[in-house]
Symmetry: none
Subunit: 175 residues, 2 copies
DNA sequence: GCTAAAACTGAATGATAATTCATTATATTA
DNA sequence: TAATATAATGAATTATCATTCAGTTTTAGC
């Protein structure tokens, strides 16, 4: 019964967890975190209210998990690009922007939730600045740094600040 | 007792209304709309909870009025610039950006509330896209259009889209 | 098919906060 | 100044939801 180390039960659990996250993403994108009720998420996911609590600690944990999943996805695809030793910095940056835009375009609701709700609360902002978002920006900063060393980018800008400004802009344009 | 068509009573009423809006702006900028209680606004304004309801229909109406006031202010100052027949389009645009930035810089709390809360809910966004925001963007679009006719701007961009992109960017940079 | 365990449900609970309104304070008028 | 009208108050009411949990259904092993 063990396939690649997973049990069927665990896979089913994972599927339902994803379904809850998807439902919450749609609802929160549409109404915002505070206007979205747990009941509405449950209804959209086709499960009972209480079931949410078998998968998440509380309502806030659902929102946090939406962020986690979004960042996981983008970082997972961004890292190979950054670590590709064949590519120059300008090409890498181009690909990262393409990646970012394609993910934002692919799941508009996810993008809305991350952009709007992340800004909305200093609480979350702090929580995430210290982890995933910083990791992502760090990857971009790495590329900017590579570019400065290769001579293809100017030397007079802080890589992390550049990363922030650039992708703030890209996000803004996308929506 | 009648001066410029206003009665003292009405002026006093207006002053208190403004005080409530100011208090609400500070509180909402700091904690967000949903975390801000009507009691907190009343406390900051130095009045009783119930008094808010003598001036506004409900909590949401206070938020809406903050938007209205902000847009009123900026449109009031932007219109003369746009309608100035002495100025070319590039100068007008420069002045509009200056105006925008100066208002944003002057009242940071107001800017935060408008930017964050307006985005936060499609509900409000729809409410306002159909009125004041559109009016403001329309003014900017007018200038872009003038520039295209004068030949100082390129012909190949939609004025309203340009206006949106430009001021989205300005807002982003400001914060 | 039977049974125990696991998963699920949704009505009940409790907490929070918007709104109301009977009462009190302030202003206006005669 | 007293009478009346207007404005303000804040405790009580009500509405809204996140969360819980006793009871129900589903699943898995035998």
């Amino acid at each position: 019964m063990a396939l690649k180390g997973y049990r069927v039960k665990d896979l089913q659990r994972e599927v339902k967890r994803e379904k809850i996250l998807d439902a919450a993403t749609v609802e929160i994108a549409h109404s915002g975190y505070h206007r979205t009720t747990v009941s509405a998420v449950a209804r959209r996911a086709g499960i009972g209210d209480g079931t949410i609590y078998l998968y998440f600690e509380n309502k806030e944990a659902v929102l946090v998990s939406i962020f986690e999943r979004a960042m996981q996805r983008i970082i997972g695809e961004a890292r190979p690009i950054v670590e590709d030793s064949e590519l120059g910095a300008p090409d890498k940056l181009r690909r990262l922007i393409e990646l970012h835009l394609s993910l934002v375009g692919m799941d508009r609701d996810m993008a809305v939730v991350v952009q709007v709700e992340l800004r909305h609360s200093l609480h979350f902002l702090e929580l995430f600045s210290r982890s995933r978002v910083r990791e992502y920006l760090g990857l971009i900063a790495e590329v900017v740094d590579q570019g400065r060393n290769e001579g293809s980018f100017r030397k007079d800008a802080d890589p992390l600040f550049t990363a922030k400004a650039l992708f703030g802009l890209v996000d803004e344009m996308a929506t």
